[in-house]
Amino acid sequence: MARSPRSDDERSAESGKRLAADGGSVSDADGRLSDLTSFFRERPRLRTLAIAGPPYGLLVFFFAIPLLAMLVVSFQTDQIGGAWTLGNYVDFLTSETYLTVVWRTFLLSVQVTAIVAGVGYALAYSIVRFSRRTTLLLLLVILPFWTSYIIRMYAWINILQSDGVLDSILNLVGLPALSLLYTETAVLIGFTYVWLPLAVLPFYASLTNLDADLIEASKDLGAGPIRTFLSVTLPMTINGVVTGVVLVFIPTFGSFITPRLLGGTNNVMIGMVIENQFKSAFNWPFGAAIGMVISVVVVALLVLATRLGGGLFGTGGETS
């Protein structure tokens, strides 16, 4: 961080003396604290830097620089430090196998997002509208976060596998076993379970901010429950919906643990391909290239979706 032109320190020392002279009776700690505040009060630019510096620093070191490194690596042959090439991109974008995986990943992500958005919105709505135990219910919603993601996935393996918990229960009530593990359904269930709390929170936040009078006004003006939902409730909470959708869609598109553990080898997602390039095939440049393409695609999709959402509901995106 850019600190300490000499004069700054001198001036702070001066103001410290002045303050000490002003308030002779203040304790040492108080004096030092007010020294510090007055030091920053007199230097608004330094203050801004001190506040904004650390988070921006973190972003640069842990996000911008790695991304840049990945971009650089993606243009190299499998000999890092060697020659430059566009070959990684060409290989990826011309391979039907990889593109099929991307397409399947996209479809699965859309399904997961739609399910989580639907269930999550209903859940958030019921917590806001019909419940007096809001805090308790919200706590229950986020409770699974206190257990490790991996452990929760293994729990699902236990539930979904052949002769697992689910099949045993079905067996007890006389229904045929499903053997869901290593199917797409298992992956959908796993994702829905993992992301639901993540979507419920922004949905809940936007729904609590929704003025109940607006719902009544809509009904008063002749709109039934469905019309009221579509023309008032949903547009007024579209910001929360977009946030929740983004929070679910992005990590789903890139994830590799859930599909590996619950989908096995039948349900390869692009995140698994990338991971494989880095960890097994040791072709970092190729993995980096796929990562870059996926990042661009996801960002483009999100921009498009946000625009579309805003356009569908007029000025709704600007409220709240």
């Binding site: 009544e216 008063d220 547009p235 000025t315």
Partner: protein
């Protein structure tokens, strides 16, 4: 036939009875206000008429059709909400056209009727703006237009003017009256503000603690309040403690401290018996005051006049009148509204009023007498 008929309306929230056996009628084209302090149940009555609350008991009929049980979107009633509840994600024109859209009015007609409404509330050219870009008074007009454009049988108002400053509120009051006449619509207005209620209404329903205190025209309520509560709530009133000493055909004899006065029989709305404790109420503007000559009562202490002397403790100038707070020798602090005379604080004055002008109410057990006369 009444347009709205409310009978035996009762609403209980758990143990609390918010509205207790309320009945009143509204004629077509009337401007009726429900007036009451906060917590009196007035908004609950309105919300039951709108359909947002289900009554525990009682009936509400609109145009002779029972509407209890039908959802708000099926009632031919529109409401102007306290906080207006304009849709922030829609333009002014879309807000006004919202109800028409719901009832399937074609876009052309919708535009035309919205335009006509904007004209009616004097907001021509504001159609494309967002509600947030409008001033408080303009937003009130939009809310009004949004309710009126559907041409409902009845428009409900839930204290929408309470957030405005006095000047704007008075202006909106006269606008409400103008628009009510122009559209020939029936208005039911809920408020705690007696000034607004008196200014705009044809008739008032006074509510306290969920129960109707009185229903009548503004004049009836002001000149013949049915209870001490109504007298206090509608306009200012002084109260003097007394005890009934005699009741006959034409008069009631009252012991009011050291002295007896007889008041007309019709000063009391309820049957009084000898020894009843009563409040004798008088409007400040019906009191006379003149400089007191030494300590002697300047006003003759005849049997049909209340009179006392006192010291001016406060004075508030009110344009043509002044309102004096007077510490009287006989009845504690009273307020008198006097036109011509001019007194200063600490002046000794003699005040009096006619027995014909008072109202007498039986004092409820334990209720302490009002010291400052509710001024």
């Amino acid at each position: 036939m009444s347009l709205l008929r409310v009978s035996g309306l009762t609403k209980e929230f758990g143990d609390l009875t918010a509205v207790d056996d309320v009945s009143f009628d509204i004629e077509d084209g009337e401007f009726v206000s429900i007036l009451g302090p906060s917590g009196s149940g007035k908004s609950t009555v309105l919300r039951m008429v709108a359909g947002f609350e289900e009554p525990t008991e009682g009936e509400i009929s609109l145009d002779d059709v029972e509407i209890v049980g039908s959802p708000p979107f099926e009632r031919d009633v529109n409401m102007v909400f306290q906080d207006l509840a304009l849709f922030p994600h829609l333009t002014v024109a879309e807000n006004i056209g919202y109800g028409l859209k719901q009832s399937g009015v074609p876009a052309d007609e919708r535009r035309e009727r919205t335009e006509r409404m904007l004209e009616m509330v004097r907001l021509e050219g504001y159609g494309d703006r967002a509600p947030a870009e409008l001033s408080g008074g303009e937003q009130q007009r939009v809310a009004l237009a949004r309710a009126l454009v559907n041409e409902p049988a009845l428009v409900l108002f839930d204290e929408p003017l309470s957030s405005l400053d006095r000047k704007l509120r008075q202006h909106m009051q006269s606008e409400l009256q103008r628009i009510q006449l122009e559209t020939d619509t029936t208005f039911l207005y809920v408020t705690h503000d007696q000034e607004v209620a008196l200014a705009v209404s044809d008739r008032l329903v006074v509510l306290d603690d969920g129960e109707i205190q009185q229903v009548g025209t503004v004049e009836e309520l002001y000149e013949a309040p049915a209870s001490r509560f109504v007298a206090d709530f509608i306009g200012d009133v002084n109260a003097v403690e007394g005890r009934v000493t005699a009741v006959d055909d034409g008069t009631i004899g009252l012991d009011v401290g050291d002295g007896e006065v007889s008041v007309p029989r019709d000063a009391a709305v309820e049957e009084l018996a000898v020894d009843d404790a009563v409040d004798v109420c008088i409007r400040p503007f019906l009191m006379r005051a003149e400089p007191a000559e030494s300590d002697r009562d300047a006003v003759d202490d005849a049997n049909e006049t209340f009179s006392t002397t006192g010291v001016v403790r406060s004075r508030s100038y009110q344009g043509s009148d002044s309102l004096y707070g007077i510490e009287t020798d006989r009845w504690g602090r009273l307020s008198a509204e006097v036109r011509s005379a001019s007194f200063d604080v600490d002046d000794r004055v003699a005040i009096a009023w006619d027995a014909a002008d008072v109202h007498v109410y039986r004092r409820e057990g334990g209720a302490p007498p009002s010291e400052d006369g509710g001024a």
